[in-house]
């Protein structure tokens, strides 16, 4: 059983990482698109960022030094990532469900990282884990894990309830949407039950993690907890295969679309990329384009369909 659990975790981590990488590369390698920004842009100069202004408000803006308000951007990002500020602003009803869910996931991730750190300390600096540091870490990952699980459960149930009862969501809801949330509820439920009812003889959480890191299959994981860990692993491997991987997408939707206000300056990398794209050969078939796969975009653009000579 333990080998199955550890094997599933290893496999899930691999699937998770590979799927995230593939998705990230797919978006990152997509061609540079035409500008499509949306204001406010967070890295604008502080005063302008507050009301949504842009450098276009400056007279002869191209002669002004290009500023990048990194602090402003980081502040907006932090509020969005940690507190889901946009949702708080635009959909308060959903925020009360979505925030505990996401914050709970952050706590669970923190618990996992703390457990991994503890396991490494057990292996390489066991002396440290005997004293106060070990105690502190124990309480941190325990509390973080329990609070995280409780919040995820609360949020997932809230989201599931809304998904099933809110008429506004009905039109676009698919069976997959329901399953995704149910998957979280069941996984957290089984994991929590496995942890809480694990019995006095069962190994500690840290022992299970040390076993995972050291490939020690002699650790006797109780059945219910094992089921929870397998479910959790499957869930982790499933997420990046679905739209729930929006933690990847959101980087691009913000940094490469909404906030991408980089102007074209002659030469430079932007110019090289655009030259490459203008050499693409479109096949759009409408009469005013007649993309035959031979003409390049540049040639299409330089053709005037309203002044074509009739033969």
């Amino acid at each position: 059983m333990t080998s199955l659990v550890y094997g599933t975790i290893y496999a899930a981590v691999a699937v998770f990482l590979i799927a995230c990488l593939v998705r990230t590369l797919r978006y990152a390698r997509a061609p540079l698109h035409l500008r499509w920004e949306l204001y406010p842009v967070a890295h604008e100069e502080r005063r302008r960022a507050q009301y949504g202004g842009s450098y276009f408000e400056e007279l002869d803006w191209w002669t002004q030094p290009a500023g990048f308000n990194l602090l402003g951007e980081l502040k907006v990002m932090a509020a969005e990532i940690v507190f889901l500020k946009g949702l708080w602003e635009f959909n308060r009803k959903l925020w009360w469900r979505s925030f505990p869910f996401h914050f709970g996931l952050y706590l669970l991730i923190a618990a996992i990282l703390l457990l991994l750190l503890s396991a490494l300390l057990v292996m390489f600096a066991p002396g440290l884990m005997v004293g106060a540091v070990g105690m502190l870490l124990h309480w941190l990952y325990t509390l973080s894990g329990l609070a995280g699980a409780a919040l995820v459960m609360l949020g997932a149930l809230g989201l599931l309830h809304r998904r099933l009862t809110d008429q506004a969501l009905k039109t676009c809801t698919t069976p997959g949407d329901i399953l995704n949330l149910a998957f979280f509820v069941v996984t957290i439920g089984v994991l929590a039950a496995g942890y809480l009812f694990r019995g006095p003889a069962s190994p500690s959480t840290l022992t299970v993690v040390v076993g995972l890191v050291t490939f020690d299959s002699s650790v006797g994981i109780p059945g219910l907890l094992a089921a929870g860990l397998i479910l959790g692993s499957l869930l982790a491997g499933y997420i990046p295969l679905t739209h729930m991987s929006h933690f990847i997408a959101k980087y691009f939707t913000y940094h490469s679309v909404r906030w991408d206000d980089q102007p074209y300056l002659r030469g430079g990398d932007l110019g090289r990329k655009i030259a490459e794209y203008l050499a693409y050969r479109p096949t759009w078939a409408a009469p005013h384009i007649q993309g035959d796969g031979k003409k390049t975009w540049a040639e299409v653009v330089m053709t005037n369909p309203a002044q074509r000579v009739k033969k």
Partner: protein
């Protein structure tokens, strides 16, 4: 109560529209338009129109797609649609927007946060058909089914949809029930963009199937590329008209007004929306007065498209968009001007300054600037003498989406009106949170069949509410009020919509541009530039 439409209804074979818009269900307007018994009756589509065109979406018809005559023709059209769908997701055909489109297709959580931000959805009384995610979800399902392998698992995860001609025909119309204001995108917690989906759908229909509203394509971008302007004016006619405007302005202002043409090496190439020249000649006239008084070395161009800043391709077709943008840049390059300044036209601002930025390469990338910025510099730095008491009437400011939310030009026009209009009041919300006038994405020039009814009663409804609220303290026909809209398309919508609701006749709400307010306050100009006459 209208029956709630489902996604699968889009494929219904029956020719009856999916919904009927009951005026009782539309968002309630504030006084004096709160009496539903005085509502405009919605003109029904004639039986002839219904027989000839695809009108099976709702109570109106924007695109006028002819009904296919045979089953084979239907199948051909569906095939074309599928081939366009495929092209929409390839680098070679759609490098221009592939990345944001993929992100939106693959990551919408269907949480509906965007819906409440949409003025059309709200004004329609929350009609499901106009929910921003409704059309996106159709495209998403088609994408997963036909381009990502489909199958049972996909249908279960992403939802299923039946592709047939009725669905395509309805989708064509539905792509023209959105103003592309992207207010929905602003609220999306993930950054998905339903406005972009509309843009891409329109592209698919135009670039692959050759289907677009004639006002945008035939008499829009094609006419502009043929004679130089979608108004039909060639360079000789436009020069004649400007000469007449110069004379008229000279008489009206008491200053000698002369519009320079094709002045090589000028600091500024000003490009107007040529619609102004015909519909609101005082606007280009006022620009000339201000620029001359401020001592700017400026010019207009008589090159093909160089005197008309419109670029309708930005709403429906990348090729047409790029062609017109290049023509604008070529006009500037030929005159060796230092910069292009865009007149009061929102979509022209965004098209040439923002979206064309990565098309205009090399020496075509001539700096572009908003007239709002230049005017702010002139007004705030005392380059002309102004007397704000000449503008002592209630003024509110409309934010054109393309200029504000989509380009970030928010404050310059505000600084001006705050300085020269003592009774200025904001609409709520305003700035980047503004609502579209309802004429955005080409609607202001689309008037086929009964489309104006939809444009005013649904698309423009939220803006009417905002205008009435902004003037709530002076809704008295004896008080003239000025709705400042620094955008030609918005003005076109206001002209038609204020008349439709009788708001000039009964409430003396006049619309106009920003430069008219500036000239009206100029000390060196004869008083009374704004004439308080309807046009």
């Amino acid at each position: 109560m209208t029956k709630k439409v489902k996604l699968e209804d889009m494929s219904r074979r029956e020719p009856e529209p999916l919904i009927h818009l009951d005026q009782e269900e539309l968002m309630r307007l504030p006084p004096p338009l709160d009496d539903r018994s005085k509502d405009h009756a919605w003109s029904p589509l004639s039986a002839q129109v219904r027989e000839k065109y695809e009108c099976s979406l709702d109570d109106t018809c924007a695109v006028s797609v002819p009904q296919p005559r045979t089953k084979e023709e239907e199948e051909q059209l569906v095939k074309k649609f599928l081939s366009g769908l495929d092209k929409l997701f390839t680098r070679e055909n759609n490098w221009t927007f592939l990345q944001p489109l993929l992100l939106t297709m693959e990551h919408c959580a269907r949480c509906q946060t965007c819906s409440e931000a949409c003025h059309i959805f709200e004004a329609s009384g929350h009609n499901e058909l106009y929910r921003p995610t409704y059309r996106s979800e159709i495209l998403r399902r088609l994408y997963f089914k036909y381009l990502k392998g489909g199958g049972l698992l996909s249908a279960w995860q992403h939802g299923d949809i039946t592709l047939n001609w009725p669905l395509v025909a309805r989708l064509i119309e539905l792509a023209y029930r959105c103003n592309l204001c992207r207010r929905c995108a602003q609220t999306c917690p993930i950054g998905a963009d339903n406005g972009l989906v509309v843009h891409e759908l329109r592209k698919l229909f135009s670039q692959e199937m050759g289907i677009a509203p004639k006002e945008l394509h035939d008499t829009g971008s094609m006419l502009q590329l043929k004679v130089g302007s979608s108004t039909g004016m060639n360079s000789v006619v436009v020069k004649d008209n400007l000469e007449f405007i110069d004379e008229d302005m000279s008489e009206k202002t008491g200053l000698e007004v002369k519009t320079p043409w094709d002045l090589e090496g000028a600091d500024v190439l000003l490009i107007h929306n040529a619609g102004e020249i015909l519909a609101w000649p005082e606007n280009p006239g006022a620009f000339a007065v201000i620029l001359n008084a401020a001592g700017i070395k400026w010019t207009l161009s008589s090159e093909l498209a160089g005197y008309d800043s419109i670029n309708y391709g930005v709403w429906y077709d990348d090729a047409q968009f790029a062609r017109v943008a290049v023509k604008h840049a070529e006009a500037a390059r030929k005159l060796r001007v230092k910069k292009i300044v865009l007149g009061e036209c929102g979509h022209a601002h965004k098209a040439l300054s923002v979206i064309a930025d990565r098309i205009l390469t090399g020496d075509l990338n001539i700096p572009r600037e908003s007239s709002m910025t230049l005017l702010r510099d002139i007004v705030m730095n005392g380059r002309i003498r102004l007397d704000p008491s000449r503008n002592d009437f209630p003024v509110t400011l409309h934010d054109p989406c393309n200029m504000v939310r989509l380009m970030g030009v928010v404050e310059p026009q505000r600084e001006i009106v705050r300085k020269i209009c003592p009774q200025f009041r904001e609409m709520e919300p305003h700035g980047v949170d503004n609502y579209c006038c309802g004429g955005g994405s080409g609607f202001a020039i689309m008037s086929g069949h009964n489309f104006p009814d939809w444009r005013f009663q649904v698309a423009g409804r939220k803006k009417i509410e905002q205008i009435l609220n902004a003037f709530g303290d002076c809704l008295d026909p004896s008080i003239p009020k000025y709705l400042c809209a620094p955008c030609s398309n918005c003005k076109g919508q206001f002209r038609d919509m204020l008349a439709y609701y009788g708001l000039w006749e009964n409430q003396r709400i006049l619309y106009g541009g920003l430069v008219e307010l500036i000239v009206n306050a100029m000390v060196d100009v004869k008083p009374g530039f704004i004439e308080w006459e309807w046009r």
